[in-house]
């Protein structure tokens, strides 16, 4: 599927020009970030799983580099290099190759070398507006390229975060559930664990030590842990300090003393992640779910409704858009709104386009603080395949 014939190359180029002219007209500046990127940035953002799908290599200086697996991180880096204040407002667009390892036997619409055409908006204070603009611009691009029929899927991590923040539970439980959100199986296990009466204690941390630890008196706890280690001749080793280990033991003790998560809250979270409904109906479903409880997520809910309205106002067919609470994205850096554009001939596993909000990414790329950021990209080989029926 890589443009192996001159003809396909030309077809991709012609298509890219159409996409880019839509993006530029929508106020995005065309940029061409470097193809070869330092691997460490991606490894820090995405983690070691990156190696499983990215071409990472070492250059003669021993520098670890990679062929960019997407253009979002490179565009963030380009923005930081240009502006001493990364919160500076900017809108970029690009068209260029990205590279991802594909196991033998992967479908042809998952080529290891493909071109992404996309847009990014940084520093826009009105989030819902910037998100709607992103979706509209991507859809306009698809339309200009000749696509007439597609389905929009949306998700919203902001809603889930608001639910968690509204629910009554210790901060560390909230963090754990957020962390596991991306892994449905682990999420359910964690939820079950938190609703079970006695939060299980690590087998090898003896009760005798734990009973001596009092979360109210952390300064005494550290001495207890030190004495315990000394008695058993265990030496401190590595970067984790005695204080850090004690802190974690104290939170284990605190967990065992905290009331388990209420069944009502667990049910609510469980029901929420199962919501799959047309975008408009999803709002009503959510309101129903929350009717009896005392969790207030009106702010996130209003943002969801407003975004939908902005999309409708811009002519997007929201009645046929589908909301999925458990939106499975492959890249974990999204922090709020997410979307994908799917066509029936390629199916859900091979979206034509996708994107969303990633407010923490700029900081992970080196900025001092979070920067509002939202973007979307089109998988141009897939678009061409969908248009030519060559799938």
């Amino acid at each position: 599927m890589v443009a192996e014939t001159a003809k396909k190359f030309e077809a991709l180029e012609a298509q890219a020009q159409k996409l880019m002219s839509v993006f530029i007209k929508a106020g995005h500046e065309a940029v061409a970030p470097a193809i070869i990127q330092p691997a460490s940035v991606f490894l820090d953002v995405i983690g070691e799983t990156l190696r499983a799908r990215t071409y990472v290599f070492t250059d003669p200086d021993g520098e670890e580099l990679c062929l960019r697996p997407d253009l979002t991180v490179p565009t963030c880096r380009l923005h930081i290099e240009r502006h001493s204040d990364p919160a500076t407002k900017a809108k970029y667009c690009y068209n260029g190759p990205a590279f991802r390892f594909q196991p033998a036997g992967a479908p042809v619409v998952h080529p290891r070398e493909f071109r992404q055409a996309g847009i990014e908006s940084f520093g826009a204070p009105d989030r819902a507006k910037a998100e709607a603009h992103t979706v509209v611009t991507v859809l306009d691009g698809l339309k200009a390229a000749g696509l007439t029929d597609c389905k929009l899927y949306i998700g919203d991590l902001g809603l889930f975060r608001a639910l968690l923040e509204g629910a009554d539970m210790p901060l560390r439980w909230r963090r754990r559930l957020m962390h596991q959100f991306w892994r449905p199986e682990a999420f359910r296990t964690e939820l079950k664990r938190l609703t079970t009466a006695a939060i299980d204690v690590p087998r090898d941390v003896p009760k005798e030590l734990l009973t001596k630890l009092d979360p109210e008196h952390p300064e005494d706890a550290e001495k207890q842990v030190a004495a315990y280690l000394e008695e058993r001749g265990i030496e401190m080793q590595g970067i984790r300090s005695l204080g850090e280990i004690t802190e974690n033991l104290l939170s284990i003790v605190a967990d065992s003393k905290t009331q388990p998560l209420s069944a009502a809250t667990a049910n609510l979270l469980e029901s929420y992640v199962r919501v799959v409904a047309p975008a408009r109906a999803a709002g009503a479903r959510l309101r129903d779910l929350l009717r009896d409880g005392d969790i207030d997520i009106s702010e996130a809910f209003d943002a969801y409704q407003r975004r939908l309205q902005l999309l409708a106002d811009a002519g997007v067919d929201v009645t046929h858009a589908e909301f999925e609470a458990e939106f499975g994205r492959t890249l974990e850096y999204y922090t709020g709104f997410v979307f994908e554009v799917v066509v029936p001939q390629l199916g859900r596993a091979s979206p034509l386009a996708g994107g969303g909000r990633y407010d923490t990414l700029m900081r992970q790329c080196g900025a001092e603080e979070d920067v509002a950021a939202v973007g979307g990209a089109i998988h141009t080989e897939r678009l061409l395949a969908a248009l030519t029926g060559d799938v």
Binding site: D204, V205, I234, L249
Partner: protein, 234 residues
């Protein structure tokens, strides 16, 4: 390059692994011996003239089987799994040989008394990052095995540091926070103040007799293989 009718048999070139490999063949009545220089790396099996024996390192044997340069070889499952993401399509494990036992395990400092299982590691990973401004570093020579195992256990927030020797010393030296390494008795780990996580066993490995699925299998080569396998009781 060997003649198309020749079966290439790859055997470990050093130490106990080599001795035990030769013994396995001897028990089956096959006399494996080096030709020419005793320190050379080429050999033969007495009475089987279209078999060429190459003595190379266990890691090299895995690569030879993967590429099809060797038809049959003896190497550890740990190396096979580390070097091939699609090992089942490339090689066939004919017989576990009962020697070269080694477990590939996840081991953390003994002083981490709050960490017993993989889930505990996952649990402290975000706090660790907040405090130290970086993710866990894991030292190992098994980069692929480690990445696959940790990811399958839901742990994604870590960085691998490649280590080609004395891996068990890296937490003390400060170059890594925990390790993935092979162990037979656990004594070396213990001596270095490390403990194995309760569910940290990645692989129980031993030496295996392995055939390459991607090598050229001419009829005469297949014939030679059948003779060898029969003698070895496979």
């Amino acid at each position: 390059m060997s003649a198309p009718d020749t079966l290439v048999l790859a055997v470990p070139s050093k130490g106990r692994l080599m001795e035990q490999s030769i013994e396995i063949f001897a028990n089956g009545g096959l006399n494996l011996r080096k030709v020419g220089n005793a320190r050379g790396y080429r050999g033969e099996i007495e009475g089987l003239d279209n078999v060429e024996v190459v003595f190379i390192s266990a890691g090299e044997i895995a690569r030879h089987l993967k590429s099809g340069r060797a038809h049959v070889g003896i190497t550890g499952e740990d190396l096979v799994r580390e070097q091939m993401s699609d090992w089942e399509t490339r090689i066939e494990i004919l017989k576990p040989l009962g020697f070269g036992h080694a477990d590939v395990v996840v081991a953390v400092p003994e002083c981490w008394i709050d960490v017993r299982v993989m889930a505990d590691l996952d649990e402290i990973s975000s706090t660790f990052r907040q405090i130290h401004g970086r993710w866990f570093r894991v030292a190992t020579k098994y980069i692929n095995l480690t990445r696959r195992f940790l990811s399958s256990r839901g742990l994604t927030d870590f960085r691998i540091v490649e280590s080609l020797g004395a891996t068990e010393g890296t937490p003390a030296a400060g170059t890594a926070d925990f390790i993935v390494d092979i162990t037979t008795t656990g004594a070396t780990l213990k001596a270095n103040g490390l403990k194995i996580l309760d569910d940290g066993l990645i692989l129980k490995s031993e030496a295996n007799l392995i055939a390459s699925r991607v090598a050229e299998w001419a009829p005469r080569v297949r014939e030679a293989e059948n003779i060898i396998l029969e003698k070895l009781g496979v």
